[in-house]
Symmetry: C2
């Protein structure tokens, strides 16, 4: 496959996964019978955005799909395909960009913030990035306010199965990477209960692509299953308050440490798409 075919194949998959996930979450909204059941079921709204390079030339763009529903306080699924030239000080930290600062990147990024403190928040992202090198990265992780051992075990197991189909070293390596990446150093606490995180995967394009699809499919299937376990249960004001405070850690992580946020800000991404990850309502202190 030519590099151009690889790019188009990856991009098409990210968009297909987006469609599958959005349909699944709209079904969850329909099936929901929790405290806000008298409100209408949410539906995704799509907004396309264009990216321009600093010299004014076209730099790709993306589509944000955002739903504010009765189960999902806010869930955003962003697909974007962008290209341009890294600035020199940024290029030196990107594999293969020191030689030639041009880049192309496509990916799907999802963040879900449910209303209920009993339904975990979740994040998933997979991407294909091309410089003089070309690699996949991504992962998924879970952020419950009140961790549930069965949820945590099943979430990890879903990724373990996806990983083990490809390479026995993947799961332990990528789980550890996730724990390290999503650690809030200044708080000495993890952002959530983990999942997997991988980056710079460039072994064999076809195998790497199938693995990346498997990661996306694992997340696509397990998260709704966890949601259904808890979505109809009520909560107290204290439990909601605990959720709002838990979300403040999420904001701290994303604004201080997150690589994707930094990548977006440094490459002139769409600010609404970059900050789609931020929770709709948050409390500190």
């Amino acid at each position: 496959m030519s590099m151009d075919q690889k790019k188009q194949t990856a991009k098409a998959w990210f968009e297909e996964l987006r469609d599958q996930i959005c349909a699944s979450y709209e079904t969850l909204e329909d099936d929901y019978a929790g405290p806000f059941k008298d409100q209408p079921a949410g539906r995704f709204e799509r907004t396309a955005w264009d990216r321009k390079n600093e010299d004014g030339s076209p730099g790709g763009g993306g589509v944000m799909s955002v739903m504010k529903g009765r189960l999902f306080e806010k869930v955003g699924v962003n697909v974007s395909t962008v290209f341009g030239t890294f600035k020199p000080e940024f290029a030196k930290n990107i594999p293969g960009a020191a030689e030639d600062p041009r880049f192309w990147a496509s990916g799907i990024s999802l963040v879900a913030h449910p209303h209920s403190p009993h339904v975990p928040a979740a994040h998933m992202n997979t991407r294909f990035i091309v410089t003089t090198k070309g690699w996949f990265g991504g992962g998924g992780d879970l952020t419950p306010t009140f961790p549930d051992d069965r949820d945590t075990a099943d979430f990890h197991d879903a990724f373990k199965q996806a990983c083990d189909r490809h390479d026995p070293v993947y799961y332990p390596k990528f789980k550890k990477w996730c724990d390290e990446y999503f650690y809030i150093k200044h708080r000495n606490e993890p952002r959530g209960v983990g999942g997997i995180f991988y980056d710079n995967l460039e072994k064999d394009w076809d195998a790497d692509f199938v693995f990346t699809k498997d990661v996306g499919q694992a997340f696509r299937d397990i998260y709704p299953a966890l949601i259904r376990r808890h979505m109809d249960k009520g909560w107290t004001a204290e439990e909601r308050d605990a959720l709002l405070h838990k979300r403040s850690r999420y904001v701290e992580f994303n604004l201080i440490y997150d690589r994707g946020t930094l990548f977006g800000l440094k490459t002139g991404g769409n600010i609404d798409a970059i900050f789609m990850s931020l929770p709709p309502e948050v409390k500190w202190g």
Copy 2:
């Protein structure tokens, strides 16, 4: 005056200013007759904290004064006096620290987040930092949800008067520095309506100290005057919502750009004191 006397003199002033300001804000809580007047008037609670250096040796500490009242949703006044050794990669960016990485720093930092969308949020900080050099820095700025021309003019004028007593170049220079410093680049918008910002002031210790006192006193006097203009007025749910969204920009600025936050995180400061600036309730999107 010996350097030791200068340190003690600066520290004592920051603590005296803290006492004056806290007393003034408690009076505002007493005098308040707005929508939450049936709640008890707020009072500051003080919490002392100790800082340890990485090698376990004492590194100073501070006292946080926090009030959650009926006028002030949250106001924090932190005084801290810390000392230790900068890490090499941090030292190279601090004046006078490349030669000798030891530092001493004392300061007062204040952030006020009123409940009412009609009462502006405000920030003030002054500090004395000693490496092989010794300099003052600080400033104050105002963040209204709905800017009021008279408030803005009077706030700027208070600082202009303080500046003009010392040097005619101060006000235009420090006002511009404030506008540049508190600019949220990724949003292409200022954090608020400005004020003044200065740093690395090391001309003449006595004059610099009196100037720094004048800056603190100007803020001490003007902010309560602005608060009294608006504090008893009611607001709509839409206006409150606008405040909560405005606060999200404040969080973005503080976590992505703020030098004081970075300084605190890099020097092992007290996390509650560092994040005292974050608003109690925030909305995104």
